[in-house]
Amino acid sequence: MTVRTPGTETGAGTATEPEADERGPDPVKVRLDVNGAQRHVDIEPRVSLLGALRDELQLTGAKRGCDQGTCGACTVWVDGRRVLACLTLAITCEGAEITTVEGLATPDGTGDGRLHPMQEEFIRHDAFQCGYCTPGQIMSAVGCVREGHAGDDGEIKEWMSGNICRCAAYPNIRAAIRAARDRV
């Protein structure tokens, strides 16, 4: 027999009764598939994918620039699509494949330490100065090519406009993307 204290009784499904599969606000176990490996983190549901990657998994390639979806420095792939890790909650990514710049060179564990063609071309074309935006630029650039929008400079400009470079390395970034276009 269940004993209930008068005054604290609440019906099922009311606002204050947590539902069975509600998680948080305290830290919960979240399983993430990052660069082909299963990782577990204990995080609050409010933690962004960017926060989980950088602060929990020490994958600091994706950068915290604006933290409000404006600059593109945090660009990673979720299920192969370029997205902003700062506006994505990590807990929503359970079951998805996350790829960061750290996983770009050898996503399948092969490659003998070679860089991804886009990374090679960024180096060859000196497509950065301070380098802060570069991981986001590279992840976005591969997406731009795969989506079929790297046809000419005008198209690259438009489809890379979500990645800001305060050093204004844009001409070199476009040159790198043009060069990598047929190798991606």
Binding site: A15, R23, L84
Partner: protein, 334 residues
């Protein structure tokens, strides 16, 4: 960011459980693409205690309707609608408006239902500090005497002049789209015009939806002339920027006369602005630059400007005229 709880809606009764979870709890919000919700949570503009993740509900995809229209599932991402061949073929202005909005990354994330629910970009709303009648009814409006260059000139009130920010809502307004929703009571349909509320005395009410009502789809009825429609967007920089003025338009010309026309304006209204005055002025008349100009003037006569956005009616007039000139310059005089 304040702490939040998380509930993922999935499985056979996922839609019902999501509806129940949010309806029963004023502190719960739906979470779709998150591009507005997470942003504004972090900035303390929105303050739900719990997010109900609807991303795994079966509400994505584009279906062809028997009449030649389309049904766009609420969770279809902006990028998928933009690149859909059937959207590009039947409603090019919808695809174009999507491609010219946000960035590639945001378009992969943001859902179409969320696009309809996105919040205004008024800096005073989003700073979580300034007086704002949307954020805190009765607090006043800092934009009225503040920096208002990007603010609206149509449909404003003395309580709010924030511009509706969506690009794709502009062609959808021109197309008489319908918003389909669900509540625990069943399905509901809103005409596009009824879905977006002008601020009036209640700028915090942006939609007629009840708490816990979920957009399930956007229906776009067939419109043959929309196959040659366009979306013309004017902004401060070429890409990744909101519209100062935008025009979605489709026009049918027979023997030099306007047989039918659809026009909506973005960047100038407190809601996606269907330009019915301009349409009425045009139908049956000659398809000339002079009539386009008169029609634009008829629409914009009601504009109320601030010293900072007084350029907008003239910019809107020119953009509207250019859009109609572009559409009628070639091939459409059949």
């Amino acid at each position: 960011m304040r702490p939040i709880s998380y509930l993922r809606a999935e499985g056979a009764d996922g839609i019902d459980s999501a509806l129940r979870a949010v309806t029963d709890d004023p502190g719960s919000d739906f979470l779709a693409g998150g591009t507005t919700e997470v942003d504004l949570l972090r900035q303390h503009v929105l303050g739900p205690r719990r997010l109900v993740d609807i991303n795994r509900l079966p509400l994505a995809g584009i279906e062809e309707l028997p009449d030649g229209g389309l049904r766009i599932g609420a969770l279809t991402r902006m990028s998928d609608v933009a690149s859909s061949p059937v959207v590009q073929e039947r409603f090019p202005m919808v695809s174009r408006a999507l491609v010219l909005g946000a960035s590639a990354q945001l378009r992969h994330m943001a859902s179409m239902g969320g696009n309809m629910m996105q919040k205004v970009r008024c800096g005073y709303y989003r700073d979580a500090e300034s007086p704002c009648n949307k954020r805190e009814p009765g607090a006043g409006c800092a934009a009225l005497t503040g920096v208002s260059r990007t603010h609206a000139v149509l449909g404003t009130s003395e309580h709010c002049i924030a511009t509706h920010p969506s690009d794709v809502a502009v062609p959808l307004a021109a197309l008489d789209a319908r918003i389909r929703t669900r509540t625990l009571d069943g399905e509901h349909t809103y005409a596009f015009d009824d879905f977006f509320l002008e601020p009036g005395d209640t700028p915090h009410r942006e939609h007629p939806l009840t708490h816990g009502e979920l957009i399930t789809a956007i229906e776009v009825p067939a419109l043959p002339m929309a196959r040659r429609s366009l979306y013309l967007k004017v902004r401060d920089r070429e890409s990744y920027e909101f519209a100062l003025v935008s025009v979605a338009a489709a026009i049918e010309v027979r023997d030099g006369k306007v047989g039918g026309v659809r026009i909506a304006l973005g960047g100038v209204g407190t809601r996606p602005w269907r330009a019915r005055r301009a349409e009425d002025a045009l139908v049956g008349g000659p398809a000339t630059t002079k009539s386009f100009d008169l029609a634009a003037r008829a629409e914009l006569a009601a504009a109320r400007t601030t010293p900072m956005n007084a350029f907008k009616p003239e910019l809107a007039r020119r953009t509207l005229v250019r859009a109609l000139e572009t559409l009628t310059r070639d091939g459409s005089r059949s």
